[in-house]
């Protein structure tokens, strides 16, 4: 297990308390799980994602992550409609471990409110939250 200082929390994404990240791509928001969550879960062996066109509220469960040991829920960091899912994860779920912020992305959302993403935490705030939980 990595120390918090060894984990990567890039500042080009926003973080939810439930450990998802969200990246503002103007028209859409791209979502995955952060380095902390993937490190805690261990090897991801399966990712269950929603259908394109599904709509969810902020905080709704949109999928599940299957690690070697357990099944975990993943939650919407902002409300919106699913416009794309990362098909590559069905063949290579380990991308979530290897490149959580890039090739390990999970869903693309058309947000109901483009400003909602700014209610999430910055990388620094998120790291402070994790340290507080230690």
């Amino acid at each position: 297990m990595k120390e918090i200082e060894e984990l990567l929390f890039p500042d080009d994404v926003h973080y939810a308390e439930t450990h998802e990240w969200a990246r503002d791509e103007e028209e859409t928001v791209v979502v995955g799980i952060g380095d902390y969550a993937q490190d805690q879960l261990g090897d991801i062996v399966f990712v269950e994602l929603p259908e394109i066109g599904d709509t969810f509220e902020k905080g709704d469960q949109f999928g599940t992550l299957e690690s070697v040991k357990a099944v975990s829920e993943i939650y919407m960091p902002v409300a919106g409609k699913i416009t794309a899912i990362n098909e590559a994860l069905s063949e290579e779920p380990e991308l979530v471990n290897l490149e959580p912020y890039n090739r390990g992305w999970m869903i693309e959302i058309e947000p109901d409110d483009p400003d909602e993403i700014h209610t999430l935490m910055s990388g620094t705030e998120y790291m402070e939250m994790l340290k507080g939980a230690e």
């Binding site: 040991k69 099944v71 829920e73």
Partner: protein, 416 residues
């Protein structure tokens, strides 16, 4: 060893009162696959070692342990346990409930080594001492003085060959469930297996992965040094250190129970492990009397434990809130273990492993969920049940075996 695991960046978790590595940064999947196709090494120092000795030791174990030590070796288990051989069985209470499972090794006709699970050394020692009448049997818990590590996987013997004095002699006719050497330098058996630096070890061709491999017992003073020696010896063979997660998925694929989870405070019967009992050939009763036998013979217990395998890697969370449902949707039981076995997948109507000689070309398994269910209804191989943990339901097939083509019983001459 604990500091070493932390330095490697292992994810740790409490297990049987010990903080143990769950997996290392390489990840449980690669660790699991290494044991199927190469070699993996486990720190198993947390397991407990008890020595039962004395003129009454054999009779005493015959009373307390399910396996018939007078009929457990060779064809159809007809021969008695002899020095250098070991067997798997369980310790029951009067209700036929499992206290723990154990491998019993006969060091000499009056000395037996009993290996039980983490944190169980004290409980089993007390249980046995409570039954040992007189001075004819002495029971000693050696747990704190003994270090143990497991080298598992088809390349295990090749790696150990680089660590042993005279490996040809050590491995000569070393069959499955046999051992040589001893961990105490003062024992006349110690010269049978020494490492290159002279360290005496007890080398046992056992393990709990279903794969070819060994358990190494030694004085706990030596474990750190021997561990490093093994890492060095294994470097050219891709030896991988493995944590408890890989051990759990490996043993499940091999249809081996985890004590206190798959076997526990209910009668040890109607399960896939009746080879641990001393059943008569016609299965009408037992070849000897032992603690718990009468409870098992009453046959009033009507729950059944079965292995299952799913259709993909999706799991459910085991536990009391997870139900097993039959094809009519009736709730019939609970899930004891559910893991993803990462080395296997379905090919048509059979299961293939990465080690199957007849696997299709380019076979790349995605893994299958598998484990054990305990149900109130008799099921047959091939029956479909649904496991539902309230979050998801998965269809699985009741089976008698999970991971095919395991290497545990292969001839040692083919593995050197």
């Amino acid at each position: 060893m604990h500091d070493w695991h932390l330095e490697q960046g292992a994810r740790m978790a409490l297990f049987g009162g010990y903080e143990m590595p769950l997996w290392y940064p390489s990840g449980a999947k690669r660790e699991h696959l290494a044991v199927l196709a190469g070699a993996g090494m486990f720190d198993t120092s947390h397991m407990a070692v008890i020595v039962v000795e004395g003129a009454g030791a054999l009779d005493f174990l015959q009373l307390c342990y399910t396996k018939d030590l007078d009929a457990c070796i060779g064809k159809k288990d007809k021969g008695p346990l002899v020095p250098g051989r070991c067997v798997y069985g369980v310790f029951l209470d009067e209700l036929g409930h499992v206290i723990d499972d154990a491998i019993v090794s006969q060091v000499s006709p009056e000395v037996y080594m009993v290996v039980v699970n983490a944190g169980m050394g004290g409980a089993i020692t007390r249980h046995l001492k409570g039954r040992a009448g007189g001075a004819a049997t002495r029971i000693n818990d050696l747990t704190d003085g003994i270090g143990k590590m497991d080298m598992q996987g088809p390349l295990s013997a090749k790696i150990l060959s680089r660590m042993l004095r005279d490996p040809g002699r050590v491995f000569d006719r070393m069959v499955y469930f046999s051992f040589k050497g001893f961990f105490d330098d003062a024992s006349p058996l110690a010269d049978a297996v020494r490492l290159l630096d002279g360290t005496p070890i007890l080398l046992s061709r056992t393990g709990y992965t279903g794969e070819f491999g060994f358990e190494l017992f030694m004085s706990s003073d030596h474990i750190g040094r021997v561990w490093n020696m093994a890492l060095e010896a294994g470097r050219d063979f891709g030896l991988m250190v493995c944590g408890l997660a890989a051990r759990d998925s490996l043993r499940t694929g091999a249809v081996l129970p985890l004590s206190h989870q798959d076997i526990g405070p209910w009668p040890f019967i109607n399960n896939p492990w009746n080879f641990a009992l001393s059943l008569k050939d016609d299965k009408t009763g037992f070849t000897k009397r032992f603690v718990g036998d009468e409870a098992l013979e009453k046959k009033t217990y009507s729950e059944y434990t079965y292995p299952f395998a799913g259709f993909d890697m999706r799991k459910v969370s085991p536990g009391n809130s997870t139900v097993v449902m039959d094809s009519n949707g009736a709730a019939i039981g609970t899930v004891l273990t559910c893991v993803t076995e990462m080395g296997i997948d379905r090919v048509g109507d059979r299961i293939c492993s990465i080690a199957s000689p007849d696997r299709p070309e380019g076979f790349r398994p995605r893994g299958l969920s598998c484990g054990f269910v305990k149900v109130t209804k008799k099921l047959a191989c091939g029956d479909t049940v649904e496991l539902n943990d309230g979050r998801r339901g998965i269809q699985v097939l009741i089976t008698d075996d999970i991971r095919p083509d395991r290497s545990a019983r292969r001839a040692i001459k083919d593995m050197l």
